[in-house]
């Protein structure tokens, strides 16, 4: 019994020396411009290299695109294809080999799919906030500013948001998913507890004393 406790302690101690490596593959995807970027990793932090990434139409479940991850675990898929073939959203499925599988759902709005904008596309100008007839100075100022359509405004905002959110996305992907000592201790506790319950349930009844 003591020897077995020693062996378990040795292995747990080894885990402290090496980081506890995991056995799960993850995929995380976002859109930048016209590209859907998928980042893949095993929970140990190692990239999933040359792994098959499938894109399925969320509505029908049929495969509409596929790609392979590169040496750093990245795969790129065209957002245009996703708009055309997966208007309801794109389900990414990663095959990490040996039965490992990861999934990520890309919302249609991220790659410009889904419902069109509520307002009809029309020429609007963000600079025309005052009637030119009321304020000639504003009219000069307005003439120097750029007229943008609603679609262009959306594209600019989307690009800036992608840039601003990129660091947070990376943080999410790199979030430490390795089992920590608390989880390991919990699992060991469960094992000992289950054994104790079984031993209690199977105990011989105490002989009656005189």
């Amino acid at each position: 019994m003591r020897i077995l406790i020693f062996i378990v302690a040795l292995i747990v101690g080894t885990l402290c020396a090496f980081s506890a490596q995991a056995h799960k593959v993850r995929v995380f995807a976002y859109v930048e411009g016209e590209t859907i970027i998928a980042e893949t990793k095993f929970s140990s932090g190692r990239p999933c290299m040359d792994c098959l990434l499938l894109g399925l139409d969320a509505d029908s479940g049929t495969q509409v695109m596929s790609g392979r991850t590169n040496a750093t675990g990245f795969a790129l898929l065209p957002a245009g294809d996703a708009r055309a073939k997966a208007p309801g959203g794109l389900q990414l499925v990663l095959d990490g080999g040996e039965g490992h599988r990861g999934e990520w759902f890309v919302e249609a709005v991220e790659y410009g799919g889904g419902q069109p904008t509520a307002e009809p596309a029309q020429e609007t100008s963000e600079s025309q906030v005052e009637s030119p007839a009321q304020n000639p100075a504003a009219q000069d100022k307005a003439a120097k500013q750029v007229a943008l359509t609603e679609k262009e405004i959306r594209a600019i905002v989307s690009e800036v948001m992608d840039q601003k959110l990129a660091p947070f996305r990376k943080q999410l992907l790199n979030k430490d998913d390795k089992p920590d000592l608390r989880d390991i201790a919990g699992g060991l506790g469960w094992l000992v507890g289950i054994a104790g319950l079984l031993a209690y349930a199977r105990r011989r009844p105490e002989s009656s004393r005189d």
């Binding site: 378990v8 506890a20 056995h23 290299m49 040359d50 039965g99 199977r202």
Partner: protein
């Protein structure tokens, strides 16, 4: 070699569940409940060993120590591995609950096979005991790889591709597991030989 959820078809999952159910029933009947803590500690060894990752190029392999469990527990390896895999699925999301039966069968059946092949050598000379333990540790990984590939045979990967990938990735693990198993059994033979008697009695 944890297979994830959503990879296997229904019939394979069902077959794995039935095999695990049968194996666990036999295992629970063969356990000596006076030594239940020993079974629990070996299940803990399995639980912790699969957290130890061995980087081998682009592949992702981990220790299992199922050969050791098979040698020392015999059929009781089934419930020990089942509980270990259940806790890993619940706490770490390794494998999955739906495929628990398949994963358990893939890991426990080779343990029982190694038990029957090598248990008699445990009562032999120390050198034979070490060799048998090495063989058990190595053969266990080979058999587990074959069974995992067989489970994946009906997926897109197919048996041959899956077997090639798994066995290539785990060839070094076979050596490591064999050495570890041999070291542990030799150590037990010197300091607590009665533990090796578990195997001869079939944990009864």
């Amino acid at each position: 070699m944890h297979i994830s959820e959503g990879v296997l078809s229904g019939p394979i999952i069902g077959a794995g569940a039935l095999l695990t159910l049968a194996g666990t029933a036999i295992g629970l009947r063969s356990v000596n409940y006076d030594r239940i803590m020993t079974v629990a500690m070996l299940a803990a060894v399995f639980f912790v060993a699969t957290l130890v990752h061995v980087p081998i190029g682009p592949a992702n392999a981990h220790l299992v120590l199922g050969g050791l469990l098979g040698l020392l527990l015999g059929w009781a390896a089934f419930p020990a591995i089942l509980v270990g895999l259940l806790l890993q699925a619940v706490m770490f999301q390794y494998g999955g609950l739906a495929v628990l039966g398949v994963n358990c069968a893939n890991m426990a059946i080779p343990a029982v096979i190694c038990h029957y092949l090598f248990r008699s050598a445990l009562q032999s000379t120390p050198s034979r005991r070490s060799l048998a333990a090495f063989a058990a540790g190595s053969l266990y990984i080979l058999l587990t790889g074959v069974l995992t590939a067989a489970s994946l045979a009906f997926t897109d990967e197919g048996f041959t591709t899956a077997a090639k990938l798994i066995l290539m990735a785990h060839a070094p693990i076979m050596i490591i597991e064999g050495l570890l198993c041999s070291a542990v059994v030799s150590f037990l033979g010197k300091v607590q030989p009665e533990l090796l008697q578990l195997s001869a009695e079939g944990t009864a």
